[in-house]
Assembly symmetry: C2
Homo-oligomer: 534 residues x 2
């Protein structure tokens, strides 16, 4: 039986790409929604690629873990942003990595870094390759500064090494993909409960390196909050923090590596805080006549100390697409879960908070579920809109559309201006460069002091123009985010794509300090050049 | 009316020191408890001090904010550890700061740093001066590397500058002492709810610089969790982070300055997340026949997702002293608070968790309250055991005893070994160097993956021997903490006193990175030399 293969140019499993009837239906629906023509083109073929020959030959000791195979090199050339998928779709891969390394253990990682140091090769930690911000590119103009680029794929380091049941923690290798680590935790009745949209195709190490946002809409929103300790291989030695439930001993070592995006070292394992598997659940979908009322309710819930697992506000456009509510209402999806206690008091009070702001809880609103290991066994859930969305995005690339998302966070007091500013700027840009299109908004996470708005853009375009058009729209969006007090990213990371705005957002003295830290750990500047710093 | 004065050698207000009958009663009680004689001596007199003359003369532009007054210099020579108080009590101040500066605004801070750079003077950010780890010493052997030392007291920068009611946040100057900032928040029905034991005599900037542990026993245990953004004056420029409810844009800039203990810059203001003032409360005191049963219950509560504000487990010794329970039981003090909803379901389930582990909730256990602005108006509460404890410690110094606390955090699975290891090591050391004494333990905070045990030591000693004896006991304690997987500090910070253990605990590559960051921001190494790094 042939091994199931990842798509080298698009999202996820190659055999799950939309084809045939599904693709045709989508084409009809998109054309209708955009009021524009679409032009389906076939997916690219691996055999059509003519990659530049690799500049590196691995030494004997590393030959077993290094590949210069076209499939591996093309699949590790980009992440999975719209920009990446468009380039892959058009076989536009001028800078593939010279080699892809698949270390079997930490010693391989150490040896690899040493060899790359010796040969002036750059090292790009690939994670699961799901970056949507240009965080794992295997090459680029910067690559000419090096005598080669090695993309490091850690997915062979995928074991749960230790379980501490009393402390509810596990030592997990950083290359474990979401389903792989959850599968190993299940027999212990434990779960990490980290479900980004990329869950199936992203790794623990990638989540840590990019401060991934996960399952919990409130309180513990980022993977950061679940870290007890980390082990990181740097060119200047291995950093291993002490496993602690909390500490006040100087600035947190882990917090320096969290969000370092592969620029300071390669994370090889971490002790992670786990959860008991939920046995109690409660949820509600609340309808509001206006987005403003929904925002006020979401704020009330976020500030009430109830800590819902899900608190997802959908604007009218998203409510129509995801919840079948087509009367212009906004919808707030609330969910609580617990392994310890019934949740009546929690959901009851949350719904009261919503009612205070005019929220109604009619029967019959169906919202797509977020992924959850409870439903893991059912094929339906795995094909839920949430996890399937990136496949749909690939299909829209094949139709010649612009289809992308971006996200931010802002204070409650700043949200209205940011929402208007971003929506207005993007709509103007879409009209100007695409002749139309639409932008919708939802909250993925809510903090006591502000929400994390997540925007989805769909617009007509043409094959050949998609990248240039999206670049203008993205610039308009990011400029508006920064002008209105937001962050360039709440949980998608910085990579290379967000650098212009990150550099404006970041305090200058902090940039000095981070650069100095980088130089101390990576004197040759070989780790993920151009990401974050350098 | 003369200004109320802080004690220059001991805790808090000079006029609240234990004297007369209170001191005599304490002497009798301590002698009985220790089965040893005590030798009361009178408090020292400022007039007896003969400080070395200041090495620095401020320039005209800074003369107004600089003091070389004996009271100011002696009061800014040490923090408030046992070691500090003993040295103050014995007028042992060989290294006072040359000047104490009281900036009126941030521009003064900038000018001061520039002048200190120009004159090769070291700068010690003093906060409220409540460090118990040697974090604010105005001098020491290291001071000879400089042509002077300036202690910077920011308590004139004590204003709440902005309130964002919708986002529940405020911009607060870093020199505001606890009561000063709470007083300004109260008219807005808001509260920071950060109540370390030092609340009255520590500042927001000090809390941030030391990763202070506060009011909440669970979830948001450290001040870190309440920071939206910070403004820090460094010798290489002013760092101001963007005000955000959450972000994934690179390593967190704030997390680099949180815990930096004045070594990277002087924090001048921060946007802090606030709370609505609680209107619902529920509490219970639960008795357990063994510490082990209490630990199991505390773990169950910590892992249940109930998030009590208070979850303080007292061992038999602490239960006797603080809760009047003298049958050898351990006591778990549970408290919930909310501004939003009744807490019956929360406390009900927490008590059930305790009952599962044999906990009983008899009527009549009285536990001393933690400080709380609700009770701020009543003199009784302000004189509660919690806030009064440091005054009692001063009185024990005057009796020639050893009296000190230390704290850590460890996983649940590691707690038994740590508790036995630390208790055993300290008891052996006490017997050997003090001929007796006692150690007790409580949990100040509990995390899902482990508690923060807090130890209190009281032992007989003699004037003149206290420091040497305590040094041996502290070394035994800290060695045992590290050997058993704990952290050298959960929320007391590192300072100079914890350096030997911090240096062993901290990952070497992180130390390289932190030193490099320090050098980038403070090239002259003038900021709090010897603390954390350098």
């Amino acid at each position: 039986m042939p091994e199931r293969r990842r798509s080298w140019w698009g999202w996820g499993w190659a055999d799950e790409a939309l084809t045939g009837d599904s693709a045709a239906k989508l084409a009809t629906a998109v054309a209708a929604a955009l009021g524009a023509e679409v032009e389906p083109r076939p997916a690219p073929d691996l055999g059509d690629l003519d990659l530049a020959p690799p500049r590196l030959t691995p030494p004997a000791g590393l030959a077993d873990i290094c590949s210069s195979d076209v499939y591996d090199r093309s699949g590790h050339t980009y992440g999975k942003s719209f920009r990446d998928v468009v380039r892959g779709f058009h076989a536009d891969l001028p800078h593939p990595p010279d080699l892809v390394a698949f270390p079997r253990d930490e010693a391989d990682v150490v040896d690899l870094l040493q060899w790359c140091t010796d040969t002036n090769a750059a090292v790009v930690p690939y994670g699961g390759g799901s970056s949507v911000v240009g965080g794992v590119d295997g090459g680029g103009d910067w690559a000419t500064d090096f005598d080669g680029v090695v993309s490091v794929d850690l997915t062979r380091l995928d074991r749960v090494l230790d379980i501490d049941r009393a402390s509810r923690a596990a030592r997990i290798q950083a290359g474990a993909l979401g389903p792989v680590l959850e599968e190993q935790l299940r027999p212990h009745d434990l779960t990490l409960r980290h479900y980004p949209q990329s869950f199936q195709f992203s790794t623990l190490g990638g989540w840590l390196a990019t401060r991934s946002g996960g399952h919990y809409a409130t309180n513990w929103t980022h993977i950061d909050d679940f870290v007890e300790s980390m082990r990181v291989v740097t060119p200047s030695g291995i950093s291993e923090s002490r496993r602690l439930p909390g500490s006040g001993a100087g600035p947190s070592p882990d917090r320096m590596f969290l969000g370092s995006e592969g620029t300071l070292g390669i994370i090889t394992e971490a002790w992670m805080r786990l959860q008991d598997r939920p046995t109690f659940r409660a949820s509600a979908a609340v309808r509001f006549s206006s987005l403003a009322a929904g925002v006020a309710a979401a704020r009330a819930v976020a500030q009430a100390g109830l800590f819902p697992t899900n608190c997802r506000l959908l604007d009218a456009g998203e409510a129509r697409a995801s919840a079948g509510v087509d009367d212009g209402s906004a919808v707030l999806v609330l969910g609580f879960e617990s392994a310890d206690h019934p949740l009546d008091a929690w959901i009851g009070r949350a719904v009261e908070c919503c009612a205070d702001h005019g929220g109604e809880t009619p029967e019959g609103i169906k919202v797509s579920a977020k992924p959850d290991e409870q439903r893991e066994g059912t094929a339906d859930a795995w094909r839920s809109a949430f996890l399937r969305a990136p496949y749909g995005r690939d299909a829209m690339v094949a139709l010649g559309c612009v289809a992308e998302t971006f996200e931010t966070a802002v204070t409650w007091s700043g949200f209205d201006a940011l929402h208007q500013g971003v929506t207005g700027a993007v709509e103007r840009a879409l009209k100007e460069v695409c002749g139309g299109g639409r932008i919708t908004c939802r909250f993925t996470h809510v903090h006591p002091d502000g929400p994390a708005p997540y925007f989805t853009v769909l617009a007509p375009s043409r094959h050949g123009s998609q990248l240039a058009q999206w670049a203008e729209v993205k610039t308009a969006a990011a400029d508006a985010i920064l002008a209105n007090g937001g962050t360039i990213t709440h949980h998608h990371a910085v990579g290379r794509d967000h650098r212009p705005w990150y550099d404006r957002q970041r305090p200058v003295p902090f940039a000095l300090a981070l650069s100095a830290a980088k130089h101390a750990l990576d004197p040759a500047g070989m780790l993920n050049p151009g990401v974050l710093i350098g």
